[in-house]
């Protein structure tokens, strides 16, 4: 069986969809088709990939308009009687073909306050944590940084507010730090004033596209929003925050 792939070819100056026909075999994923096309028809077709098993988050693209990892999107899930469109993520500037400039994400992360642990619990310099206390943080740390959540977030995708909003990926990163049982840093001020958590209006688009099924909105962003409210709008929150600071001193 053959299938047609409409692949976006071009660079920052512009581009167009081009059709490529390739043979489809059992179990193939979109990335396999891209590789076949690269090998036989378009050797300079640019795409990122590494692990081919949904673990590294390199091969993000939009397949039939949906943000997907190409390595985990099976052709059997797609209607192959119609051409399959493959195009680069839209929230980031195109470099070439399916490759976008995601460097903004790396700059954003660098600005987030790093992990700062409390003093070790045991004389040998180690800590004690219960599994149930880290389940939530481990969920967030499953993130493979594919940036599909950033791609689908309308604050970034449609409104291009990259300077004022860090996006779901980094809200989850902040959540993983804030909910880490050992962390003593306080990040609510930045969340509110610099990282733009208020721009998120919890439409859950990010959660829907997460290949790791992280409950980004319910388990991460909403609790962070509550922390911001507690810290800045609740007088008891101010007192509690001051008390916590004293404890950690």
């Amino acid at each position: 069986m053959k299938a047609v792939f409409k692949i976006w070819r071009g660079d920052a100056k512009g581009g167009e969809f081009r059709d490529y026909t390739t043979e489809v075999a059992e179990g193939m994923v979109v990335l396999d088709a891209i590789h076949d096309i690269q090998r036989t028809q378009a050797p300079d077709l640019a795409c990122r990939w590494n692990c081919k098993a949904g673990k590294c988050g390199s091969c993000s693209a939009e397949v039939n308009g949906m943000p997907k990892l190409m390595c985990m999107t099976r052709l059997s899930e797609l209607p192959l009687e119609k051409p399959v469109t493959v195009e680069p993520m839209k929230a980031f500037p195109v470099l070439k073909d399916l490759v976008t400039d995601v460097s903004w994400n790396f700059r954003v992360k660098k600005k987030i306050k790093p992990f700062k642990p409390r003093h070790p619990d045991a004389p040998d310099g180690t800590w004690r944590m219960q599994q149930e206390d880290i389940d939530r943080v481990q969920e967030f740390r499953k993130c493979i940084e594919c940036f599909l959540c950033q791609d689908v977030c309308h604050v970034l995708r449609d409104h291009q507010m990259h300077e004022r909003f860090i996006g779901p990926r980094f809200l989850i990163h902040v959540a993983a730090l804030e909910m880490h049982p050992l962390d003593t840093e306080d990040r609510t001020e930045e969340l509110r004033n610099k990282q733009g958590i208020g721009y998120c209006n919890i439409t859950k688009c990010c959660t829907n596209v997460c290949p790791e099924s992280i409950q980004i909105t319910d388990n991460g962003i909403i609790p962070l929003k509550e922390r911001v409210v507690d810290d800045f709008y609740d007088p008891f929150g101010w007192v509690w925050k001051g008390f916590k600071k004293l404890l950690n001193r």
Binding site: P43, A46, N50, K55, K110, P114, P120, L177
Partner: protein, 606 residues
């Protein structure tokens, strides 16, 4: 100096997986200027794929564990041709390196009393692998990455190094290109650390991504360093075999650590059929004992599925060859059977092996809590690599260091699962520390006319694929090489097939020199594939020559023309270097003499 953009650092680290990141962090802690070059985006290196865990004798789960047991296990697994000093340092320092990750924010699974949990793995006597479900590598690389970016390291993402620059004997920098625009760059440095990972792309069936083309191995070899133990390529016993497009993708050994069993099409647990002599006293002789071991019973011995990877791979190949394989040319790996033993087996499996569950469900329509998986060996890791000083990780080229998979010595003839992540941390740190020391003791090397000539010649060579009008596709040369290495220098080897492989590699070299690239220099994978061929061919030749030279079967090297171990080869390593005329020279080097206190440990643990 040639007119390319030039950067200056004290220490340049090439490769940003576990070893490269750890080296960069350590060097930056010594207050030198550090540059970190990565072939992909930061955080995507192969470390991210590691699943099972980090081996370290923390003794959190079994208090009988300590560095001596870990050392003895590593040497036994490596069939005693390991560099003893590396195995010793590794066993002693791994626990501190793991605890350090926790201090930097890693969140490992916990014991009931709140400490880092450890799991069973092949060849480790006690539960020793600190882990996070089956995504330990992701946890490790992200922890190092997030810690590293706050330390003032300059990161060059999507850059590839083409050659190392030398002034006399000493390394003084590197020359390469960036993917985005295809522009050349010069990196001047007082010391260079290679941490480029493996060579998996030389084989057809592999768990490795496009990046693993033996870059560090070849850069070091070209610069005058020795390569050691190149014949020892690890074929991981359990890669996916179906559907064809996922062939080779890794299935973690953690499946067996959690109680998964291997069966042939007759339903027989064939691993009980051939237990090697040196593991007999440590291995269960019945299924019930094996299960109790996985459940943590201290009086039980390990099930034969948790024997070393070289052995398990060969048993699987035997079953397939003798007609007892599964429908798609593998064997069965079954974790679903534990529902006979555990009340919430399905939930337990999903919690302990979430990404395996996800991977099979999504890519193969298999629910591993209900059905067995089909698995077969996949090229996973190379024990061989750059020969380094065990303490400093410096090669014989002054200023050139190597760590992680591209360096060699700790693993001998076979690596134990979990020893790779700890190797990255222990020797990444050491490489960073001593590279920084070297940088402080030496000034920036000269980039004069000889170096300029070297740069211009590398640039001409790199651009040559665009000048060619041939129809030779770099992808096709790569594929033909992969088929050859898979068929002729794979799990079972012999002299005539390997001689044939050497002839073919010569042909591929000629074809590679004729391979053409179309399009322009901007983010052009066809061009990059053409450039990587040189390295792939060099390591393929090195593997084949070393495997020919070792006329015996030991660890990962199995030869059907020399099926037994040979005492003569128990005392030597193969060593490869480049001669003046550019040809590959191989010699046998005696193993360094092991001190008595270590011999005694090995004797006591036998």
């Amino acid at each position: 100096m040639p007119d390319y953009e030039t950067f200056e650092h004290d220490v340049l680290v090439i490769g940003a997986g576990g070893a490269g990141l750890r080296a960069a962090i350590e060097a930056s802690a010594a207050a030198v200027r550090v540059g970190l070059v990565c072939k992909s985006l930061l955080g995507k290196a192969h470390t991210v794929m590691a699943e099972g865990g980090i081996a370290a004798a923390l003794a959190n789960v079994d208090e009988r564990d300590n560095w001596k047991v870990h050392f003895a296990d590593t040497m036994r697994g490596g069939q005693y041709v390991n560099q003893w000093r590396m195995a010793e340092l590794h066993a002693k320092e791994a626990p501190d390196r793991v605890r350090e990750l926790e201090a930097w924010g890693a969140v490992f699974d916990r014991t009931k009393d709140g400490r880092i949990l450890q799991r069973h793995f092949g060849g480790h006597k006690y539960p020793r692998l600190a882990h996070v479900g089956d995504r330990t590598g992701l946890e490790m690389i992200r922890t190092l990455q997030d810690h590293g970016v706050h330390r003032g390291i300059d990161v060059y993402m999507e850059h590839t190094i083409l050659s190392l620059l030398k002034d006399g004997d000493r390394v003084v920098g590197a020359f390469g290109y960036e993917r985005e625009r295809g522009r050349f760059k010069i990196f001047r440095a007082k010391a260079v650390v290679l941490a480029t990972g493996g060579i998996g792309r030389a084989y057809k069936i592999t768990s490795n991504s496009w990046e693993y083309t033996g870059d560090g191995h070849t850069l070091a070899y070209d610069a005058g360093a020795d390569l050691i133990d190149m014949e020892f390529v690890q074929f991981h016993p359990t890669g996916m075999v179906w559907p064809p497009s996922v062939m080779g993708i890794l299935v973690t050994e953690g499946v067996r650590g959690e109680g998964g069993i291997l069966k042939n099409k007759e339903g027989r647990r064939f691993m009980f059929d051939a237990i090697p002599e040196n593991y007999r006293t440590q291995t269960a002789d019945n299924e019930e004992e094996g299960w109790r071991y996985c459940q943590g019973a201290k009086d039980a011995r390990r099930p034969p599925e948790l024997l070393t990877r070289d052995h398990v791979s060969r048993c699987i190949v035997r079953e397939i060859k003798e007609g007892r394989g599964s429908p798609h040319g593998g064997v069965y790996l079954d974790i679903s059977w534990i529902k006979q033993k555990l009340p919430n087996a399905a939930e337990h499996i999903k919690r302990k092996l979430p990404s395996m569950y996800h991977q099979f469900k999504q890519l193969a329509d298999i629910d591993i809590t209900e059905q067995p998986m089909e698995v077969g060996p996949t090229t996973h890791y190379i024990m061989g690599g750059v020969h380094v000083d065990p303490d400093t990780q410096m090669s014989r080229v002054p200023g050139l260091f190597a760590a992680g998979e591209c360096a060699a010595g700790i693993n001998g003839a076979n690596r134990l699962g979990g020893n790779s992540l700890s190797d990255l941390l222990v020797f990444g740190k050491r490489a960073g520390e001593f590279a920084a020391k070297f940088a402080k003791e030496n000034s920036l090397g000269k980039i004069g006319p000889p170096q300029a000539e070297q740069i211009e010649s590398a640039a001409r060579e790199a651009l040559a694929p665009f000048e060619r009008s041939s129809s030779e596709s770099p992808y096709q040369v790569q594929k033909d090489l992969q088929d050859t290495m898979q068929d002729l220098v794979g799990i079972v080897r012999n002299e005539s097939e390997m001689r044939e492989a050497l002839g073919k590699i010569d042909d591929f070299k000629r074809r590679a020199e004729n391979a053409a690239a179309s399009g322009n220099r901007e983010y052009n994978p066809g061009w990059h594939t053409a450039l990587d061929l040189k390295n792939l061919l060099a390591v393929s030749e090195a593997i084949t020559r070393a495997a020919l030279e070792r006329k015996e079967s030991r660890g990962a090297q199995f030869r059907d023309d020399y099926p037994d171990k040979d005492e003569q080869f128990a005392k030597v390593n193969t060593m490869i270097s480049k001669t003046e005329d550019g040809s590959m020279q191989i010699r046998l080097e005696p193993l360094p003499e092991m001190p008595d206190y270590l011999k005694q440990i090995i004797e006591e643990m036998k």
